[in-house]
Amino acid sequence: MIQEFLDTFVLVQGWLLDKVVQPSLLALGLGSLVEPAFDGIEFFLFGVIQLAVAYVLLRPLEAWRPVEHWPDRRAVRVDVLYTFLDRLGIVPLAVFAILSPFVLGLDGWLRFHDIIPPQIEDAFPSLEMHPLAAFFVYLVAIDFFEYWRHRLSHTLRWWWALHAIHHSQRQMSLWTDSRNHLLDDLIGGAWFALVALLIGVPPGHFIGLLVAVRIVENLSHVNARISFGRIGEQLLVSPRYHRWHHAIECPPGERFRYGCNFAILFPIWDRLFGTQYLAATLPPTGITTPELADPVHADHFWRQQADGITGLVGVIRKRKAPG
């Protein structure tokens, strides 16, 4: 059964490589990209499967136990567009193309000066023999860094100007996870690349790690009355847990000044760093920034992108203004 699935998967992957990707790359003189392109096709196919699985499993949940009923779902449509651009690899490909020369340059420079970037296995060599344990350790490590990336994107005003696009959705659904400003995606990509360089994320784990994160992220944005219970919500981010992260009104208290529940996968980080908020209620989602709350912008991809840039420029100008 598994072998049949793999064979079919490889058949489709190979066909796309043979008929579409490889001829184009060879014609462009980019033959050495054939191998990464093969991985890219795998990424694309996983994205297709993931989209299908998310829709088949999560959409019925939204229909069955919705937190909110929306007679007009126009605002959701733009999130579907964001999701397709992200999951099918268009945004990640652009981010990869922009960042890889810098990351390779840095890696090359370090090694040329006899600095081999560290790996988790250097500290724990036994992980080399236990790939499943290594996968989990890398997952936890990446989630730790993702917690801080996410928290900083709320704390730093210039970054928040971009990340606010993700939070401006008042009709939060399974599609909302990918709703990000393109610059925010680029910064997130750079962050991940540096983390990967710092801890040595195994290339073979990369797609698996990404799939694990994406599944939980799709689920955590779902418009459904779902919680994992008191204990479960300490183990894995649930839709109710993450809904509080998207709440229009932050919970009271100075420690929630920039928001709460920043964890992506494991709520332990919020608990450890004092940003956890647990409640049985399900708050409305969105933000109150006037331009971003404007319904005219609610279903418009490019307007949202422009809003992010406007916000960013505004923050930079304020910083430069005297007094």
């Binding site: 992957q13 043979d18 060879l26 980019l30 033959g31 050495s32 090694r111 081999i116 290339p203 073979g204």
Partner: protein, 333 residues
């Protein structure tokens, strides 16, 4: 190394030794395998161990991050697996598939090769545009040579005076002088050169040109291209049949993949076999009856019967299989 419980543990007591010997005789505990092929699953970071008689995968070992290429040590007692993303060389026993040792802090080794005089160990870093030259005995770094862009495969002249490297993205072949440990020259070749091998006459270098589907033949002393021999789409790697004359060329297309047989006396392709899945690295049995090739994009090792010229069996392995090796292989010329 995980060995799936296949191998007996060492013990010092004679009783257990006798018992083990009896069990071995009874066939209950396999030891050194009669014919063992080692295939590297570069994306999984594992090594598939394949019985060359039954064509069954009899074990899988954890190797490292991105094991791409492998080669025997000059004494044939080990197979070295180059783990580019782990910055390691992992040594395996070629008869049992058991891990022997790890050498760390070898920065990003992709292709590896010993110079014929046994003096140098050369490793390319495909990702980082660099060739590293180590003392072959101590594996201490002696030179680090910039090689933009994308240094890939390695060949040597018979005397071990030069290492020749294909530069995949700048469409060149670079010669490194192993006496001065410096770049000697760089010459242009066709688009996306990959595999490179010295012909038996020690005069002609053969280069697989992916972008044109040809083998480009270079007179390396004159530093000029003599001819281009069409093979098939995405001509990639070369491997000797072992008769001092014929070389296999893997044409790494997925559905239309093939392997051509090149005659270096007449410089013509004399045979071609259909090999799906993107054939890449190859190995030939000493008796000349079988050609094994990793199907890079097909998650398989393909075995071609050289008598019938047909694909004999397709062995499922891990993801992105790249290097393949077995003892009892044909000569390397």
């Amino acid at each position: 190394m995980h060995n799936s419980g296949m191998f007996p543990q060492k013990t010092s007591t004679s009783t257990v030794r006798v018992a083990t010997a009896l069990l071995l005789l009874a066939g209950l505990l396999p030891a050194a395998h009669a014919g063992l092929a080692i295939a590297l699953n570069s994306a999984d970071g594992t090594v598939s161990l394949i019985d060359t008689e039954s064509y069954k995968v009899i074990g899988k070992s954890i190797a490292c991050k991105e094991p791409h290429h492998l080669m025997a040590t000059p004494d044939d007692k080990s197979v070295i697996v180059a783990c580019s993303a782990s910055n390691q060389l992992v040594y395996f026993d070629p008869l049992t598939g058991k891990e022997q040792k790890r050498v760390r802090n070898i920065s990003d080794p992709y292709q590896i090769g010993f110079s014929p005089d046994g003096k140098w160990f050369v490793a390319t870093s495909l990702r980082l545009d660099r060739v590293d030259i180590y003392d072959a005995r101590s594996l201490t770094l002696k030179a680090r040579i910039p090689a933009p862009r994308t240094p890939s495969h390695i060949a040597f002249d018979d005397a071990g005076r030069f290492a020749f490297i294909t530069l995949q993205d700048s469409n060149e072949v670079m010669a490194i002088n192993l006496q001065t440990l410096k770049k000697e020259w760089v010459i242009p070749v066709g688009p996306t050169p990959a595999g490179i091998l010295m012909a038996p006459d020690n005069r002609h270098l053969m280069v697989g040109i992916m972008g044109e589907g040809v083998v480009e033949v270079i007179d390396w002393q004159a530093q000029k291209t003599l001819r281009k021999i069409p093979t098939d789409t995405a001509a990639h790697n070369l491997h000797p049949r072992g008769d001092g004359r014929h070389y296999f060329v893997s044409n790494r297309s997925v559905s239309g993949g093939s392997i051509s047989l090149l005659d270096t006396k007449t410089w013509t392709v004399i045979e071609k076999y259909d090999v799906p899945g993107g054939p890449d690295d190859m190995e030939v049995r000493a008796d000349g009856k079988e050609l094994w090739a990793t199907a890079r994009f097909g998650r398989r090792v393909q075995v071609i019967d050289l008598t019938t010229k047909q694909l004999k069996i397709s062995i499922p392995v891990g993801s992105s299989p790249h290097g393949v090796f077995f003892t009892g292989h044909a000569p390397r010329k």
